[in-house]
């Protein structure tokens, strides 16, 4: 949203509208309606308006525009792994949930050896230094540190499953 606020005092700023439209298309929004201190931008996609707009409602929250920014985090096959970069999920009600992603391509191991206990289980509390798994690449067994602290709420890949760069491995609740 940061770039949208650059020219916040001019609702007619075309680039912003274009970006809003991109947002709408990308997220299949039917309508965008932004108002602020007498300003308003309202965009609606598709054809027939259902009900006529009923005038400006003061105090309508701008965060209505937030859902389209939700980062999609597929947990399916290796080829469809989520985009790399920031691990944090910016969705308001899940802002405390982050993903530990694979830093390399290789084979995932949840435990140091077949007879050992897993490094972590769902429900475990981890800190930045906790080893969460091993990824084997080129016969090298790389211990992977969590790099974030919190509680493990899901393990997203199976033992000995191939994982590639950026593949989400663990879902972590970072609330204390």
């Amino acid at each position: 949203m940061a770039e949208l606020e650059e020219n916040a005092d001019d609702v007619f700023e075309l680039d912003r509208i274009r970006r809003l439209i991109d947002l709408m298309k990308e997220h299949d929004l039917g309508e965008i309606d932004l108002r602020q201190a007498g300003q308003r931008i309202r965009l609606r996609r598709g054809s027939a308006p259902t009900s006529p707009p009923t005038g400006t409602q003061p105090g309508l929250p701008l965060s209505a525009a937030a859902p389209p920014m939700r980062e999609t985090v597929p947990t399916s096959g290796a080829g469809g792994a989520a985009a790399g970069g920031a691990a944090a999920n910016p969705v308001e009600d899940e802002r405390h949930v982050v993903y530990i992603k694979s830093p390399m391509i290789g084979t995932f191991y949840s435990r140091p050896n077949p007879n050992a206990e897993p490094y972590v289980r769902v429900g475990d509390h981890i800190d930045e230094a906790t080893t969460v798994c091993i990824i084997e690449a080129m016969k090298v067994f790389n211990e992977i540190p969590a790099e974030i602290g919190g509680r493990v709420i899901a393990i997203l890949v199976g033992d000995e499953e191939p994982v590639d760069f950026g593949r989400p491995l663990f879902k972590v609740d970072t609330r204390k």
């Binding site: 290796a78 080829g79 792994a81 985009a83 790399g84 970069g85 390399m104 391509i105 290789g106 084979t107 690449a137 080129m138 090298v140 191939p162 590639d164 760069f165 950026g166 593949r167």
Partner: protein, 447 residues
């Protein structure tokens, strides 16, 4: 033949190799970086793995990541394409030590020919002319004069530690050489702290002629005729063609046969390109071997009908060449233009971004090798080539005409491309008459 190979590359050449594999019934494992995630060509691979972030040093160039992908993907061989790890003998060796075939020459052949002096030695031994040079430092003025008289003027004086033109001088006669020799030494000393210089014959208005070769593991080697890649801009090839125009048939055969002698002497296998420069009297001199498939390989495919990527794979798998020299005819004329996302109106600055519209030319003899499509975003992280437009017609004049039409027809919106610049070169008298040399583009204003 292989059942499954990994393609250690991206973009159009990855797509080219995937297509060849599909036609051969070979499964493919493609790798990609974050920047190429979701590219349409990846959908044609049987498996895909992300090997790292956009930066190629952290993805396509990371040997460990690529090998790891090959292991995870359980492949028998790796095709390196061109660029990235294609001529990395170390990578080549690691592949083999991991029992994965590298689709290319042996690391030894790659290393030998990668070293300029060794390669020159091999060429000389094979009776292939090299650019006459002192092959070592010239101690003083009188040695320089003696050597210059021996190889004939004009000569080039180069700093042994040199680069970027520093410590480089030309001389047309004894008098000029005396001055230039001293200047070059002084400049080299100042620039590199090393006054050592050597002498080389200066080839004026050189043409870049290269010969495509294929050599199998059973001692068979053939050439697939030559390509003229003289149309360059700052050492970047712009337009490639086959056959080379204005090259007498006897010289053509001599240069092609020299290339075969050279690779056979070097024990080179798989596809390779032997580069020569050609002076205005059609004397040719060996420069180097490109131990990989090249960007411009399609022009050779068009005139010979041989699929070079398939040939590479078959050779690596141990198959003998399915043809002999006499079977390889060169029919008609083919030209390739590299379509780069660059703005020719602004000094060829990169023009990455989203391709909004893409209308591709077609018809008989028109081929467009490209991974781009409407909606494709040209990433800023890699080279700017978005496609290769190739035209094959009965004669060079027809090919030029058809290429101009194809360039006119090609419509790319969203990014700037080099297509209009190619159009102007093709329309020029110099190009049409086949009077290109490697500096033509730089010294000419094309209107």
């Amino acid at each position: 033949m292989y059942k499954r190979i990994l393609i250690a590359n991206r973009g159009e050449i990855a797509l080219r190799i995937i297509r060849a594999c599909r036609e051969l019934g070979i499964e493919t494992v493609a790798i990609y970086s974050d920047a190429d995630r979701g590219s349409a060509y990846l959908e044609l691979a049987d498996e895909t793995y992300c090997v790292g972030p956009a930066k190629s040093a952290l993805s396509y160039l990371r040997i460990d990541r690529v090998i790891s992908a090959a292991e995870v993907g359980n492949v028998e061989a790796i095709h390196p394409g061109y660029g990235f790890l294609a001529e990395n003998a170390h990578f080549n060796e690691i592949c083999r030590s991991c029992r994965i075939d590298f689709i290319g020459p042996s690391p030894q052949a790659m290393q030998q020919l990668g070293d300029k002096n060794t390669a020159r030695g091999i060429a000389r031994a094979a009776g292939v002319p090299v650019v006459p040079g002192s092959d070592g430092l010239v101690a003083n003025e009188s040695e320089a004069l003696e050597f210059a008289r021996e190889i004939g003027y004009p000569v080039l004086i180069k700093a042994t530690a040199g680069g970027g033109g520093k410590g480089m001088r030309t001389a047309n006669d004894d008098q000029a050489l005396k001055t230039a020799f001293a200047q070059a030494q002084t400049e080299a000393k100042a620039a590199f702290g090393n006054a050592g210089v050597y002498l080389e014959k200066l080839i004026e208005r050189p043409r870049h002629i290269e010969v495509q070769i294929l050599a199998d593991a059973h001692g068979n080697a053939v050439h697939l005729w030559e390509r003229d890649c003289s149309t360059q801009r700052r050492h970047q090839k712009l337009i490639e063609e086959s056959p080379a125009p204005n090259l007498p048939e006897d010289r053509r055969r001599a240069i092609c046969e020299a290339a075969v002698r050279l690779v056979q002497s070097a024990g080179y296998t798989n596809a390779g390109t032997v580069e020569f420069i050609l002076d205005q009297n059609h004397n040719f001199y060996f420069i180097e071997v490109n131990a990989r498939i090249q960007v411009e390989h399609p022009v050779t495919e068009m005139v010979t009908g041989v699929d070079l990527i398939k040939a590479q794979i078959a050779i690596a798998a141990g198959e003998p060449l399915p043809f002999r020299q006499a079977d390889i005819a060169c029919r008609g004329a083919a030209i390739e233009c590299r379509i780069n996302a660059e703005d020719p109106e602004h000094n060829f600055r990169p023009s990455p971004g989203k391709i909004d519209q893409l209308l591709v030319p077609g018809g008989p003899g028109v081929r467009f090798d490209s991974h781009a499509h409407p909606g494709y975003v040209v990433p800023q992280h890699y080279d700017s080539m978005i496609g290769k437009l190739i035209v094959h017609k009965a004669t060079r004049a027809e090919a030029i005409q058809a290429m101009m039409c194809a360039l006119d027809e090609l419509r790319i919106r969203g990014v700037e491309t080099t297509a209009p610049f190619h159009r102007r070169i093709l329309a020029s008298q110099a190009f049409r008459e086949g009077r290109m040399d490697t500096k033509l583009v730089e010294r000419t204003r094309f209107d």
